[in-house]
Amino acid sequence: MAVFTTLSQAIADGVRDGHTIALEGFTHLIPFAAGHEIIRQQRRNLTLIRMTPDLIYDQLVGAGCVSKLVFSWGGNPGVGSLHRVRDAIEHSYPRPVEIEEHSHAAMANAYEAGASGLPMAVFRGYVGSDLKDVNPNIKTIFCPFTGEELAAVPAIKPDIGIIHAQKADKAGNVLLEGIVGVQKEVALSSRHCIVTVEEIVDDLGAGPNSCVLPAWSVDAIATVPGGASPSYAQGYYPRNNSYYKEWDGISRSRETFNKWLDEQVFNGDAL
C-alpha cells in the first residue's frame, strides 16, 4: 500500500547499493529529481535498466553510482552522444560500466513479461542482428505449434522501479497521461515501486480506460512538482529542449560535468 513520504526518505528507505533499478519514462515523465536524489545519497554499484538512457543516466553514470547498464538506445535525443556514459564505457571513468544491450522491442516485451509474472518474453525479434552474438541474454526458441524461430529474453524484474506521474489522489492512486511508455510495466514488475508526482488532488478525474496505478500496487509516493524537468509532464510543463542541447557542452568534459554536479546537484537548485 502506498505510503506518502518525501523523495529523500523514499530513496533512503528503498534504494540500496548493488540494487537493480529501473527509472523509466519514454522521453516524457522521466524521473529526474529521483535520479538526482540517488546521486546525492551516493548509492553505488547500481545496475540501471532503461530503454533510452538519456541525460538522467548520463548523470548517474558520471556521478559514479553505476556498475552496469541495461539499455536499448543510449543517446541525447536529437543532439548527440551521452559523453559521461561513453567516458565510462571507453575509458572506465569514473569507474568501469558493464553493458547489456537490447532492442526496444526486446525491453518492452521483457518489462511486460516481468509485470505478467513470467520468467521470459517471446517475440519475433533480433532476426539477423549481431546483438545476439554479444548479449548472452538473447536466445532463440522455436514455437512448439508452428516451428517458427523466435527470440526470447529474460523478464525484467527490478529491485526498485521509479517513475514520475502527473498526479495521485489522497488515497494514493496514481494517474499517468500522455506518452505512458513502459511505466505501468515497471510499477508492476518491480519488487518496490517509488512514484513521484506533480501534485496530490482530491479527484484524479480519470476516465474508465486511463492509465491508473491503484494505491495498493505502488509503495511510496512523493510530491515533487517539476520532478520530470528537463523532461516534461504533459498538462504541466513542456520539454526543455534547449537544456538537452546545453547538456552536450556540460557533459563533454569531466571538469564541466563535475562542476555541474557540485554546483547543481550537491549544493544547488537541482530538484
Binding site: M51, G78, S103, H104, E112, D130, V180, Y243
Partner: protein, 273 residues
C-alpha cells in the same frame, strides 16, 4: 521549377518524402526520416498515417520533434498507446506498411549499423584493436530499428552519402538488411521484404533482384557517377536504365523550409516551467 536554388540536404529530404504514399501507415524513425515523413504529410500525402515508437498513432506534429517522444507528437495524435502495445500489436502484429529508418552506416546488402564503429576492415585501417567491447566509436544502439526492419512490410532508408557511411560490410549488423550474403531473408515467410529503397543526398539506390546488392537507380540532378563512386565504400554499380531524379518543386521547397523554420523557432524558445 528550375531556377530556385536548393541544397543537397533538401534534395534528399524531398526525394525521401516522395517515396511515401498517401494512405500508407509509416513507422517513423527520428531525424531525417521524421523530417521527410512530415514533409510528405504536408505535401502530397495528407492521409499518410505516421506512427512513432513512443506510442503515438496518426500523429500530425506542427513542428518536427527533437526526440521520439516530444509532447507535440502525443497532443497531435489520434491516440497514444503504451510502448509494449506499440511494438507487440501494431508493429509485430503486421499493421505497418513502411518502416522509415536512418542509420550511421549501411553496407552493400543494406544492413544497418547503429551500434559501434570498430574498424575491423582492412580498408578502414583495421589494426585489430577495436571490437564491440572496445569500440572506436560507441553509437546509440538499435532502438526500435531491429524489429521495425523485419516486422514492417517494407523498409525505406535515408542517410547522407559518404565513404564513412556507405561501407562494403558494416562493422556490426544492428539491423538486418539482407544479411552478410544478401540472402538472409530468403525462405523466411513471417518477416517483411526489407529495404526497398535507399535515398541519399546524391542518389537513389535499390536492391538488385536476386543478389539484393544495392545499385544506383537514379542520380539527383547535377550529380555525376564519379561523385557517387567516390562516396561509396564498395565498387558500386549503376542500373542499365539509370534515371535522373525529378527536381524539387517550388511548393516542396517552400513547405520544407517553413517546417524547418517553425521547428527551429519552437526548439530555441522552449523553457521548462
Amino acid at each position: 521549377m528550375s531556377t530556385e536554388q536548393y541544397s543537397a540536404a533538401e534534395m534528399m529530404t524531398i526525394t525521401a518524402a516522395r517515396a511515401l504514399h498517401n494512405g500508407s501507415t509509416c513507422f517513423v524513425g527520428i531525424g531525417l526520416p521524421s523530417e521527410a515523413a512530415n514533409l510528405a504529410r504536408l505535401s502530397h500525402a495528407p492521409d499518410i498515417t505516421l506512427i512513432y515508437e513512443s506510442g503515438t498513432i496518426e500523429t500530425k506534429p506542427r513542428v518536427l520533434p527533437l526526440s521520439i517522444g516530444d509532447g507535440e507528437l502525443c497532443e497531435s495524435a489520434l491516440t497514444t498507446v503504451s510502448v509494449p502495445e506499440m511494438f507487440r500489436y501494431w508493429l509485430q502484429g503486421g499493421h505497418i506498411d513502411v518502416g522509415f529508418l536512418g542509420t550511421a552506416q549501411i553496407d552493400r546488402y543494406a544492413n544497418l549499423n547503429t551500434t559501434v564503429i570498430a574498424a575491423n576492415h582492412p580498408a578502414e585501417g583495421a589494426d585489430g584493436a577495436h571490437s564491440y567491447a572496445n569500440p572506436k566509436v560507441r553509437l546509440p544502439g538499435g532502438g526500435g530499428a531491429p524489429e521495425i526492419s523485419t516486422n514492417a512490410k517494407e523498409v525505406i532508408v535515408t542517410l547522407k552519402h559518404s565513404v564513412r557511411t556507405f561501407v562494403k560490410d558494416v562493422d556490426f549488423v544492428t539491423t538486418l538488411g539482407f544479411g552478410r550474403d544478401g540472402q538472409a531473408r530468403r525462405g523466411r515467410k513471417t518477416i517483411g521484404k526489407g529495404p526497398v529503397m535507399v535515398i541519399t543526398d546524391l542518389c537513389i539506390l535499390r536492391p538488385e533482384p536476386e543478389t539484393n546488392e544495392l545499385i544506383v537507380v537514379s542520380l539527383h540532378p547535377g550529380v555525376t557517377r564519379e561523385q557517387v563512386t567516390e562516396a561509396t565504400g564498395w565498387d558500386v554499380r549503376f542500373a542499365d536504365a539509370l534515371q535522373t531524379t525529378d527536381l524539387p518543386s517550388q511548393r516542396e521547397i517552400e513547405v520544407l523550409r517553413e517546417l524547418k523554420r517553425v521547428t527551429a523557432e519552437a526548439h530555441n524558445k522552449t523553457e521548462s516551467a
